[in-house]
Symmetry: D2
Subunit: 338 residues, 4 copies
């Protein structure tokens, strides 16, 4: 049995991770850490887990976690993980960080978008960007995975084959994404109260959302050139789910067959990616690790429109983290997830 | 008192119209028609109106309505209004059609998108496209107004100043819109059941939605050239509201000030358009005739992003119809609406 | 024009009051007070009111409000109003308190349920319980109205005719009530976050909710004897609305006709009470001051079941406050409300 | 591997059963029947199951199902199962009926509440009421289980210990229950459209709901005397979940300890019943087979209030059906459910 710990267990991503690990046949949860709720029984915070996970929350101490765990998941606000993870820790335990600290290769880009200085320069080179479908082989070899953001996973997977196969104009990319409210976290803010969110939609972080550089980093890598794009997130009144509607101008001579072939080439055998004839809907992936990708060609404008759905807490956070764990430990990638 | 009739009163737009007309100081509702519910008391279908509007539904007969009304509103599935409205009718009564039949100037475009033949060729030339802020003076002079669609109102108003002032590339326009479920109407379809819609979002009609030619017609008129664009509607789990997030590539040398000046020029004095410093949210316009427009420049990509919110049943249907009525009868345009 | 002020304008009840007073033909809002947001423009907090109410929030000072107002509405957490309202204030201005401080005649009952001492003993005798349909004539004569709670209004009106006419056993009363989330207020609490409330229902305050003594006070008065009852509130995932399902054992020989006659006797001419043949639903009263009452006899058990719907923010708070104002100022009771 | 079939697979209960059986380690789904969608691929109706269950729907033929299955689940409108199930069928295959046809022992009670004649008199004596916690040993021995209704499961389990131990007055029972919309099924009805259900609550079937006799049958059995009670269902705007708030007058001398002891006696070791110190909420049982029971004593009125939550599609339908299957096949009762 793999002994697993979660630091930041009381947020929505942490809680989802508990749910998934409880069902995983090869994992035992041995450590739950929380800075704000230390000493409290986990199932008193989430009564859903009563009789399933009644562990007492420890402090958020990665050193203590590393002593008893084979793998530690971090689900923390940005800026903390980069202080926690050291070379010593990585010698003892595998770390999967669900936060932003190790996702951007270029520390200056991180510091410019997140407005904090980065404390993990000593280990950032060991970090592998944990988008399983793209970096599987590197993930298998590292002890530090930077689990991608929820918007990011959905956006990159939507556009990757187009960029990798040079089918669309990299300067034409627009990602218009919708997220359920769990993406905003569990902190007590007026803006996330039921009555403020219910029966309304809004855009936010227009032209400034922090997931943008992460998407650009991975698509630039795929395209072999710098990709700069527009990303617009929206909040919709549902608990979980992300739908990304992505627009790209097809290059001269690229037709529907070429586009479909490219998606089949990269994703046809992926266990968690479904290429869907009907348009993707978030309810079809809710509670699962699936990525549902559908696409349409707009002949009138020469654009391809890719509509992709994931569950932000599963493939967008905890599920992908488990998938990464499976890869890191040499397990069947689907274990505990299907 | 203006005597008003509504044919198709039992749909969501018809019902909203009843609500608005009941509050209008210069209007009396004298006729409610329904093809499916003839003989039923209106407030038995919508108990919300008990003691406020207990009229018995008549048949859907525009001839009878014209005998007792000064204005008749049509809220019918497409293809019906074009059969109902004749020159004789228009001599007797003002008609405001909330459906699609008289919106497109080019009948062949109508027939190609709607897949039916058009039966109102004799009167279509009298029809004025009832987007009040753009066609106010013509509306004042006609007896037949084609009230715009909900997505259309939101989309056209979002991009009109950019096209009119030639600030953005007409070939770059993308409209990504979110709608509440009332836009899908009140017919009994599995797809619109609570459990099918709740906690999910989806795109639909991608690259094929019928509101597209309506948007293109008006923006082409503004631009003085053919505009072909991409329009993607989405369904979100809320009752009412439309949010359109619109993307356009700014032309060389166009800066934020030029953009803001253009919106101020066309909308600065409009009673129902609010140019908002904070990003638009549908809850702020729910139940009102307001159009909340906000905009952001994405300096990194040279795009302007316009985010606009309306209530699909008010400014997107019944409210704009009342606004049109006010213009046609020479009343204060805000009467009954603020 | 009546000059009106609201202290505690930024909560949900205060905001609803702004909405109603803006539409009232005889009222001008001249003062908005807030302890937490002093100096902020009201419509920056609630962008819904942009161009409709752009007043700057003053401090929560009833003395200053009294100088410029004819009527002051208080929408404050319990314990504050009883300190604010003095005999001097009541000489200058009419006060309508939407909070709990002046509702219970017996100060010791108040102190025992609310766990604070009461600071308004000097004026509590002047307070009239503002349930318009029951205390209309006293309301007309006072300067201090204690506006009833939302659950309370719905519960008392449901059972009043049964108690007044001695048709049911006072010891058999059970009120099972459902409330939308706006009833919980606008403070930033994890329990009221969208993701905590969405897609779930719960009971709370079982056998201990503070609206219980208020209901008992008024029903005891009606019955002419002490009524002790069970009241169970529930939270349901909607913004606004209360549905009370009330159970009472009919006394020997009381049949459906006797029950219906009693409701017709007390409510048949009330402008805001609708006795409904079909079962009440909260959507039918949303945004209105109506009280929809429906009833069924359970012949098998000898019980009457009364199902009543109100909008918690309108008839359960701001609407009833305006109705009280209309009565206090000798206006048509429906003014600004229908 | 147990070969399982589902007739009526395209409803919400049938679909949930597919979900649970797919995860069950000892079961293989070999037959899915549907009268309306024969020939269609199951995952085309429910894209959620794409790549998980792509079976083609057969006709609703229990004879054909019995040839290839070890167990057949029926999820049909009432009146059909009683025609389908014969002695011959029961010799070949175990049948678990999720409908109402075999739940009531007294056929005349069934015919009076359901207004149809019963066609399964020949086999009804073999039917065991499948409330696992109460009839476990009989379930283990039968080939025909009548799986209880959703409201029923929640209501009976709430009150059973009180009746069995004679702690409360059987004539005092009131059950006030709230249900998510999936309980209304997947047929296309205006009343279940998103816009009709969203942001509203209502009672329905007051004093006349068909689950009443089922609750009375089981509680009478427990009490050893006829129990006649009031049951009021409500519809709330959420997808799944039932919360029952149950009221009973405690008998003279019964205190909180006696009540808690009774619940511990009957449920303390049940794997799917959790006796909760905090009040039950439906979100805590969503997607699970748990029954969360909480209780409070109202000292002022001498009543006990039991608040119980289940997922209507799991413990209220498909989950309990799987639990019954586990019992019938001698498997660990929790298999596939935790």
């Amino acid at each position: 049995m793999i002994k697993a710990g979660i630091i930041g267990a009381t947020g929505y991503a942490g809680s989802e991770l508990v749910s998934l690990l409880l069902k995983h046949p090869d994992v035992e949860i041995v450590f739950l850490g929380s800075s704000s709720q230390q000493g409290v029984v986990f199932s008193d915070i989430y009564p859903r887990y009563r009789s399933l996970c009644d562990l007492v929350l420890s402090e958020s101490d990665i050193v203590k976690a590393a002593e008893v765990c084979d793998v530690v998941f971090l689900a923390l606000p940005h800026g903390l993980a980069s202080s926690f993870v050291t070379s010593e820790i990585l010698k003892k335990v595998k770390v999967i960080d669900l936060g932003a600290d190790f996702r951007l290769k270029d520390v200056s880009v991180y510091e410019s978008w997140y407005k904090v200085s980065h404390n993990g320069r000593a280990v950032i080179n060991q970090a592998v960007y944990g988008l399983c479908e793209i970096h599987r082989s590197e993930i298998a070899k590292t002890n530090l995975v930077a689990n991608p953001g929820c918007y990011t996973t959905c956006s990159i997977l939507s556009l990757y084959p187009l960029m990798k196969e040079h089918l669309a104009d990299p300067s034409s990319l627009i990602i218009d994404a919708l997220s359920g409210v769990s993406g905003a976290g569990r902190s007590a803010k007026v803006a996330n109260l039921f009555c403020e969110v219910d029966e309304s939609v809004k855009a936010y972080g227009v032209a400034s959302h922090r997931h943008t550089p992460e998407i650009e980093q991975e698509l630039s890598l795929a395209a072999g050139m710098d990709v700069v794009l527009t990303f617009t997130p929206h909040l919709v009144p549902m608990n979980r789910g992300i739908l990304a509607t992505c627009y790209a101008k097809l290059l001269e001579g690229v037709d529907e067959k070429a586009v479909k072939d490219a998606y089949a080439k990269y994703y046809g055998k992926e266990p968690f990616i479904r290429l869907c004839p009907s348009l993707s809907e978030t309810r079809n992936v809710a509670g699962t690790n699936f990525v549902d990708i559908s696409l349409r060609i707009d002949e009138r404008t020469g654009r391809v429109i890719v509509v992709t759905a994931i569950d932000n807490l599963v493939k967008g956070a905890a599920g992908q983290a488990v998938q990464n764990m499976n890869i890191m430990f040499g397990l069947d990638e689907k274990e505990g997830l299907i």
